[in-house]
């Protein structure tokens, strides 16, 4: 808790910097409008104008917050297609788009972390896998998967797989790697002394795994799960970019950039940030509870 004051200060400084940057970024447009109208802008008028433009180059923080509020709560409560009026989520609300992205993220994350754990168990227990798979797991990450996301989506669409699964595959690919690396490290964390102790108990392979290796890998697992879920979210968002997907935060980013709707872009960006932060925090919470019950809490 002793960090809370510095963190708040830094955050406040960032927001202040943002506000300060809004004025020069949007001044050009405001001056042009004023010249066209034949008026001269004073400094105070210039500042208020830069903070309230409809399509600013850089929206002010309160504008983004307002847009976020409008496109979530207000849209669902009062919008024509909102939840209150139709009983289903509005396709103009960020709740709907966020859910589309979140579901792909979670599916990809679940598959990716299961795959990662399985690979790590194989690598730790089989020398041939250790020698041959690990270099390729590393090499696989040098392929910029995000860059080939469009191709994967198009190809999968051509074979008849559409909707959630292609996006989840991209998320899987991005999230398995941190889990493999973390789990290999974690499963190898028990030192020789502990392994020898298990041997003196004449523990079998599965017993050593269940009672020693698996528990001691837990801190590593949670650390890499946090990285993996953030990566999975990025994967799902980028997977929505190229194919003209009509739903999801990535699609909101793309349509916002087509039509110059900067507020929409920033709102989608912040919705993604909130999602990422929320999921990482959730894993952190599970980590704390689990480690506490295992008596490993620090």
């Amino acid at each position: 808790m002793r960090n809370i004051f510095p963190v708040l200060t830094v955050t406040a400084a960032l927001i202040a910097f943002w506000y300060a940057a809004v004025i020069p970024m949007n001044a050009q447009w405001a001056q042009d409008q004023a010249r066209r109208a034949g008026t001269e802008l004073g400094f105070a008028a210039l500042v208020t104008d830069t903070m309230t433009q409809a399509r600013p180059r850089l929206p002010a923080p309160h504008q983004v917050a307002h847009e976020l509020w409008n496109s979530t709560v207000v849209e669902e409560m009062t919008g024509r297609r909102g939840f209150m009026n139709t009983g289903s989520l509005s396709n103009r609300s960020l709740i709907y788009h966020g859910w589309v992205t979140l579901s792909a993220t979670l599916l990809g994350f679940a598959i990716g972390s299961a795959l990662g754990i399985a690979l790590a168990v194989g690598i730790v227990h089989n020398r041939a896998m250790d020698a041959s798979v690990m270099p390729w797991a590393i090499a696989s990450q040098t392929i910029p998967i995000l860059a080939i996301a469009p191709m994967i989506i198009v190809v999968l669409n051509a074979v008849g797989i559409t909707g959630l699964v292609p996006k989840a595959i991209i998320s899987t690919y991005l999230s398995f790697f941190p889990v493999v690396v973390g789990m290999v490290k974690g499963l190898r964390a028990p030192d020789q002394m502990q392994l020898d102790l298990m041997k003196t108990y004449s523990a079998s392979g599965p017993q050593i795994f269940a009672k020693l290796r698996w528990p001691s890998a837990m801190p590593y697992l949670f650390a890499s799960l946090k990285v993996a879920i953030a990566a999975a979210l990025v994967g799902a968002i980028v997977a929505e970019l190229p194919t003209g997907a009509s739903a999801g935060l990535g699609a909101r980013l793309l349509s916002g950039s087509y039509f110059g709707q900067t507020l929409q872009i920033w709102a989608a960006l912040f919705a993604a940030a909130i999602l990422a932060a929320g999921m990482v925090a959730l894993i952190g919470l599970i980590q704390r509870i689990t480690l506490k019950r295992m008596g490993m809490a620090v």
Binding site: L8, V10, A131, P144, M151, V155, L233, S257
Partner: protein, 373 residues
């Protein structure tokens, strides 16, 4: 029991069974005879190997010769099988046999005692190379045998032909995206993060405030700022470099700040007893101690840089660049060109990463993780 304890015993058993399956399903007449001969010879050698219990007790050159014979048998059988476009039952069994044989070889190679010196380094590369070659071969064989349409998955040979045919386009795209976009953005982002980290480091208050915020920002989908950057800096490479700067900045910053704090109080006190200035303490103690952390950040950032530059091109670019090429060629269903770009990107990314790792070895030679295993 003895058989079970030998490496690759199960794979060897599998190869034998698969070969039997080839014979039973009528592969004897249908298959290219030298493929079957090579496989049969390999199985014969395998049986001898496991019955005699040839292991690491044998002279190394016997083992090497044996493995060489197996590898040549494997490549003959594999090469003959790629000529076929006939997904019959015996064909599947033969493919499985070759695959298991390759697996057996990988297992043997990774178990074999390491030779010293430069040969040993090459030896360590053999198993992953063989594994990768097997994957490529499986890809080629499956695409040919099942006659997969070119618009879904081109064969590796087709991709290679495409690379050779369009080196000029690939080079132009490479310069636009990697050299102009990714490298310049990487340099600016890393330099900015290092300077900022040094500034932050002078105040404990700033450090405690900035580390959590920076960690939080590093986990965010920063790639989403790409449309904003394109709006601000235009279609050409400056906007790509800007995205790369934003993506690279936080991982490097967080790692550097952490690294600069990695020295112990005892060591800093020693510098003080030498009456070292801040700059001396930084140069002689804290910066060297921070290097492992900084290089960790640099490595993470190196993969992010290429991704950022390519994805930013999806939001608008001049008519060249890897991201532009990928998105347009996907639209024209020229998938071999897309795969060619991917191969270039993967190669460039690996080389970039490898170079940073080399510099790391040279700079942080003292660190435990760099000592020979």
């Amino acid at each position: 029991m003895r058989l079970q304890n030998q490496t690759g015993a199960f794979q060897a058993l599998g190869v034998a069974l698969a070969l039997m399956a080839v014979f039973i399903t009528g592969g004897w007449g249908a298959a290219p005879s030298n493929a079957i001969a090579a496989l049969t010879g390999a199985v014969f050698l395998l049986v001898i190997h496991h019955l005699l219990g040839w292991t690491r007790h044998n002279a190394p050159w016997v083992m090497a010769l044996f493995l060489l014979v197996m590898a040549s048998n494997l490549s003959i059988a594999g090469a003959r099988l790629t000529m076929r476009a006939a997904p019959e039952a015996w064909f599947g069994a033969a493919v499985v046999a070759v695959w298991l044989l390759a697996w057996w070889l990988v297992a043997q190679l990774s178990e074999a005692p390491r030779v010293r010196g430069i040969l040993g380094k090459l030896q360590a590369l053999l198993a992953p190379i063989l594994f990768g070659a097997t994957l490529l071969w499986l890809w080629e064989v499956i695409v040919r045998a099942l006659d997969v349409p070119r618009v879904i998955l081109p064969a590796p040979s087709a991709i290679w032909a495409r690379i050779l045919r369009s080196t000029d386009i690939l080079w132009v795209d490479f310069v636009q995206t990697f050299v102009k976009g990714a490298l310049s953005g990487y340099a600016i982002g890393v330099a900015a993060a290092l300077v900022f980290a040094l500034a932050v480091d002078r105040s404990d208050f700033l450090r405690r405030g900035l580390l959590p915020v920076g960690n939080f920002l590093a986990a965010l989908p920063i790639i989403g700022t790409a449309p904003i950057m394109v709006m601000w800096f235009g279609f050409d490479w400056p906007s790509k470099a800007a995205v790369v700067v934003a993506m690279v900045f936080f991982p490097v910053l967080v790692n550097t700040v952490q690294g600069l704090a990695a020295t112990e109080a005892m060591q800093r006190d020693l510098m003080r007893t030498y009456s070292a200035t801040w700059a001396q303490g930084l140069l002689k103690l804290r910066l060297p101690a921070a290097m492992p952390f900084i290089f960790n950040g640099l490595k993470i950032a190196s993969t992010l840089a290429l991704i950022g530059a390519i994805v930013a091109e999806f939001f608008g670019s001049p008519t060249r660049g890897m991201g532009f090429r990928i998105s347009t060629e996907v639209g024209r269903l020229q998938l071999d060109m897309v795969w060619a770009e991917i191969a270039v990107a993967a190669l460039a990314g690996s080389l970039f990463y490898g170079m940073i790792a080399l510099v790391e070895r040279w700079v942080t030679f003292w660190h435990p993780s760099q000592r020979g295993r």
